[in-house]
Assembly symmetry: C2
């Protein structure tokens, strides 16, 4: 994040930083991260904050969600030297300028050195599958429709293979630039259908960080296992071999939500290593 | 429903009827009921079925949902003399021609005389309020955002006044053409927030039929009570006087969903009176 560090060095005296929690419907956006040729959530947020604060801003975020992926708890940081605004004013003011598919849910003062991406200790993503012959009309933007009946016990046998420390290099796309592919997945679970929604299944994954498209690839394989095209052990085999030994398609982006990003309570760099 | 009856009389020999359960996101539509100058869900459904069946169709529905109101379980009927299609073909074929915000969830053979509106024994509507200072980005199309903190115990004290047999003439809009305003509301409940959604509250109402905009008016008053502007007894007073004695605004349409319509199992007219 070199540009951020130099930006912070040149900040006006009296600059203050705010940690923003951001919710968005990713349907209209080419992902979180700013791009030169497509509308992104980061750009929408920065433009709203610029209108509010009347100076250029950059808002680094915790997770570079893909095009079409949603967030209930993306985290971003904004720095301003404007003295006439507090955290509540930032939240309300940003929401006044933002389109209604992006909301700043909370703003809190934070350390100027707070780095949403590097300081994150845990990321929680939820992937939701809608398993009914007919797709959902009302929630179609946030559920992956799988029309064929799935063998959920087989999916539930496969999931625990993901849990724990593994080399996930078979579960990333070619564009992934991560140097480390060994990650400790602290949660890989699929709860029973929520009350009143018998066709919905949520997959919850928690890890300090994820590889590019890792969750959509993991869910893609789990659904193929549910379709009976691979045994549950295909997960273990791919993790052990590090190669894509089973054929499957990546799950679409619309089922994925960045639910929450956790930080060490003190916000210090040392703590994040725990 | 005179046009339907005459239509049925003139039906070709071999005509068969199907009961359709229809789910829709009402955001784009001017309600269920066909209109000459605005797109409605009924029109979208009829046009899809006409493309499939290659003859004109009319699809009467159980509930005339307002513009912006959604359904998970609207019920409609279609009649065809086409012999080459079964119920599954109707469902799949309709969905192939429908836009993705309308889905035929099921199709079942039914009596030619089945009248979705008159034969209905019970309608279940759910109204969902989102009570957080910041609106929902992801579910904004299906939640009424109320930013001020609500006194939920007061709302819960007010709700039971609606339950049972009352004259609801104070809870309908001027456009309402119903002759009978005495209804037996068999359910008026507000459950605890669903797991993982602490800001969402669902109001569930069940009755054989409702007056025009009745639920949006009832929820509008309940929210005013939650804001402390009226006591819970304002509900009782309005039901007893039959006049709008308390000032309140009608709840917006996007929080309302027609969840289910129940029919007598035998489908006979006699049974619906129970």
């Amino acid at each position: 994040m070199t540009p951020d560090r130099s930006q912070r060095k040149s900040e006006a005296p009296g600059a203050r930083a705010f940690k923003l929690t951001v919710e968005y419907d990713g349907t209209r956006y080419a992902g979180w991260q700013r791009q030169s040729n497509a509308l992104t959530v980061q750009q929408a947020l920065e433009e709203a904050l610029q209108q509010l604060l009347r100076h250029p801003v950059r808002c680094p975020g915790a997770g570079r969600t893909d095009a079409g992926v949603h967030a209930l708890g993306q985290v971003a940081r904004v720095v301003t030297a404007l003295r006439t605004i507090d955290a509540q004013g930032i939240r309300r003011g940003a929401n006044a300028f933002l389109p209604d598919d992006v909301r700043v849910v909370s703003a809190q003062p934070c350390a100027l050195g707070f780095d949403p991406r590097r300081d994150a200790r845990l990321r929680w993503y939820r992937y939701s599958v809608f398993n009914r012959s007919t797709a959902s009309a009302l929630d179609r933007h946030r559920l992956w429709h799988v029309p064929q009946p799935l063998d959920w016990p087989a999916v539930e046998r496969a999931l625990p293979f993901f849990q724990g420390r593994h080399d996930f290099r078979a579960f990333r796309v070619a564009a992934c630039s991560a140097k480390r592919t060994v990650l400790n997945l602290v949660k890989a679970e699929c709860a029973a259908p929520p009350e009143g929604a018998p066709h919905v299944r949520h997959f919850d994954f928690e890890c300090r960080s994820f590889l590019h498209s890792q969750i959509r690839l993991m869910v893609g394989l789990l659904v193929e296992i549910g379709l009976g095209r691979h045994p549950p052990e295909a997960v273990r085999d791919m993790l052990e071999s590090g190669r894509q030994t089973a054929q499957f398609r990546m799950a679409p982006p619309n089922g994925l939500v960045l639910m929450r990003v956790d930080y060490p309570s003190a916000g210090s760099r040392a703590e994040k290593e725990r």
